[in-house]
Chain length 444, copies 2
């Protein structure tokens, strides 16, 4: 057998100037330039692995630098040596004896770890000639478990319990596979209700989304209370009450304010309230949930590790577990979080949007459905219709559902033209920008 | 009045090759090269402000890069505009609309924020010609409160409650000031019991520390259980039972293991068990504390924000609150944490050691004693006797107590010769090292 060896790792700082159109704007993140620290593993066999971590523009260079450092843990290694002990490989990254101090397992170094681990899984799936979701669901339970880091979570989920969850989910797996391939996985759209959008734009986008078959909609809140309500009523006018509406405050409020504001918004009958307060405030979320029992509480896109998710679940703080594909340590850590959520019977509804997050998370939800929770009930994947054109294998949506990807890998490869055009700061999309800036400065 | 304006910010990557002697070694951090991302604010009036964030070597470049980015928030600004609204200034750093995604308020960007905010306080104290602890204790309660970010903690500590704590602590302030200036602040030493030290070295160091008047000692544990106990008994043989012994596992264990291991170590009658598990595991610490009530539980050196400290306190998870001077957003955020700890009546015993942490934290404990908790009971500052020679105003220790610094500022200015010698990678201390590496590579 010709062993695949990682010969080099290329890292690219990739930024899209989305802030120019208020795309992605919310109460806290007002002007994001959707960006990514992107890496490509090159091998001796011609296979490549791709991974990225999502950022909002400035600071991407920090993730790039961290990735360039961590790359040494895959360079020169055989793919087999990485995949044979995925948890061990992950621990090499998260336990690097000096680097670890900068986290541990949080912030910039964790974001970079996520990109690199995801790139290894992309490579693995490509070598196996399977889309990642199928590779994962073809693994034996023991193989899945060997990718899970149980350290710091085994008080809530033992290896034995995790194995039981995986074993139990085997029953009905074939029927679910058939359904999934036929109908896809349900989604919701965030594209209609960005914070910076005008009323007219929201109405038009709701119309268009309904015509396209969407039934689940998200609205950004966290501004002036009366205005939030007004915008919510406007969306309800457009989508009616039979469709689902979620609201998202993007961490805007303190705990007391979040309780008041969530109560006010009950009028809109939200399917969930997302990120009502600090993403680190487990006890705060638990209190909000307790005080406003009529609204389901969701968080997770800023939750930096399985240790935090464990506590959100232990504390009964959330009704909806919003995993993110690259804020935590990639596929590995998300396997742990899916298993934890299944143990606590909390549905997983992944965070997506950004750059590549939709492409990523469809694989994780498919695996959750096939092999972990075994259910699509109360489960939807976020969808945002930006930037997919930059991917070699963009997501496919039909009538508000993700259709399963068929190409080998993790769907995260960026097109060569896009890599060149949006590379920061020297791609064409930014060179023009800098040129404008330079002229202005000269003019002063 | 001649307004002080910050004209430039210089950032230095500073690394000390401490790993060569196992200095600072513990069960998790086996080979730290004590390092810092260090910044110097230059002004139009000749005053300078100094700040650093402590790291373990590799990855310091990430903090340097983050600091270089954040520097734009002080460059060109008057000192008055910064100090008039310290909380507002802090929020500019932590809420930077794109950078924030990389945290928020955690990891690399938070470490860099801490260094920059501390540098502003150093400058402020120098301009006022006071050591920082005296500057802080001379502030009116309202001025202290204006530096505190209450967002995300006001459910546990309102502004009004914080004001009451500060007002109440005014009584007896003058007497405490006298005692503090005369006797200093109690400390404990970590220098006798690093993980990598031999038995003989530990004995010798205990002897020497006793002779120097130390009464509080810390031992690193988290290795083989029998060996931990053996080393603990050895220390007890040397220091007796009337002196205090703390044990520190540096996050080595999961929750269940931490419970077992902490129980085993009760034989040593530890004054506290430090970092028994993940620093993010609030509920885990609460459970360990509940299950082993005979040992006091301590954590905090890896606790990244006031939101996390708030929860450790709300959950009754800790008996000892170990603030760190530069993992959180500097002096500002530590004011919030001191007030939270006072509200919950948990003593603050700062983490120190590393590079400059002793120099920093003496100011915070003095302020806590004078203006917040009003007590030294059950309170000690960590002390480690390394690297002080690199500071212009190193800490002064007498018979196991910190003597209060008298020079203006935050005591964190590094000597010019040290800056040059330990600058990474081009200082002499590292050029030699690289030269050795280069020769080896050429020889291959």
């Amino acid at each position: 057998m010709n062993e695949t060896v990682v010969t080099s790792v290329r890292v690219v700082d990739l930024r899209f100037p989305t802030s120019r159109e208020s795309i992605g704007s919310d109460a806290v993140n007002k002007d994001p330039d959707y960006s990514a620290a992107y890496c490509i593993l090159e091998t001796n066999t011609g296979h490549r692995g791709h991974g990225l971590t999502f950022t909002l523009g400035r600071g991407t260079e920090l993730c790039v630098l961290a990735l360039e450092y961590l790359a040494r843990f895959v360079k020169g290694r055989t793919l087999d040596s990485l995949t044979a002990d995925m948890a061990g490989f992950c621990r090499q990254l998260t336990d690097e004896s000096q680097f670890r101090w900068l986290g541990p397992e949080k912030g910039v170094i964790q974001l970079a770890t996520g990109a690199l681990i995801n790139a290894v899984w992309d490579l693995y799936a490509r070598v196996e000639k399977k889309p990642l979701w199928r590779l994962l669901s073809d693994l034996e339970p023991e193989q899945v478990l060997s990718a899970v880091e149980f350290r710091y979570i085994d008080d809530a989920l033992s290896r034995g319990e995790a194995r039981e969850i995986l074993e139990e989910a085997r029953s009905g797996n074939a029927e679910r596979m058939e359904l999934l391939e036929r109908d896809g996985y349900p989604a919701y759209t965030t594209s209609v209700g960005w914070y910076g959008f005008s009323d007219e734009k929201i109405r038009t986008l709701c119309h268009r989304a309904l015509a396209d078959g969407w039934t689940n909609f998200k609205l950004k809140v966290g501004g002036d209370p009366a205005n939030d309500l007004r915008r919510g009523r406007l969306v309800r006018e457009e989508i009616g009450w039979e469709n689902k509406l979620m609201v998202d405050a993007n961490q805007k409020w303190g705990v007391e304010e979040a309780i008041l504001r969530t109560r006010e918004l009950t009028e809109l009958e939200p399917w969930w309230m997302e990120e009502p307060t600090s993403p680190d405030d487990i006890l705060g979320h638990a209190r909000i949930r307790f005080e406003v029992p009529e609204v389901r509480i969701a968080t997770g896109e800023h939750c930096h590790s399985r240790v935090m998710f464990k506590q959100f679940l232990q504390a009964n703080a959330i009704d909806v577990c919003q995993i993110d594909s690259c804020r935590v340590a990639g596929v590995n850590e998300n396997l742990a979080i899916l298993l934890l959520a299944a143990k606590f019977k909390v549905p997983v509804c992944p965070h997506a949007g950004g750059v590549g997050l939709c492409e990523y998370v469809q694989h994780l939800s498919a695996f959750d459905y096939l092999c972990v929770s075994g259910s699509m009930e109360d489960r939807v994947i976020e969808y945002v219709d930006h930037l997919h054109e930059h991917f070699v294998e963009p997501v496919r949506i039909r009538r508000g559902r993700y259709l399963m990807p068929e190409a080998p890998g993790y769907s995260i490869e960026i097109r060569q033209e896009s890599l060149e055009r949006y590379r920061y700061p020297d791609g064409d999309a930014w060179r023009d920008e800098s040129a404008v800036g330079a002229v202005v400065m000269v003019g002063k």
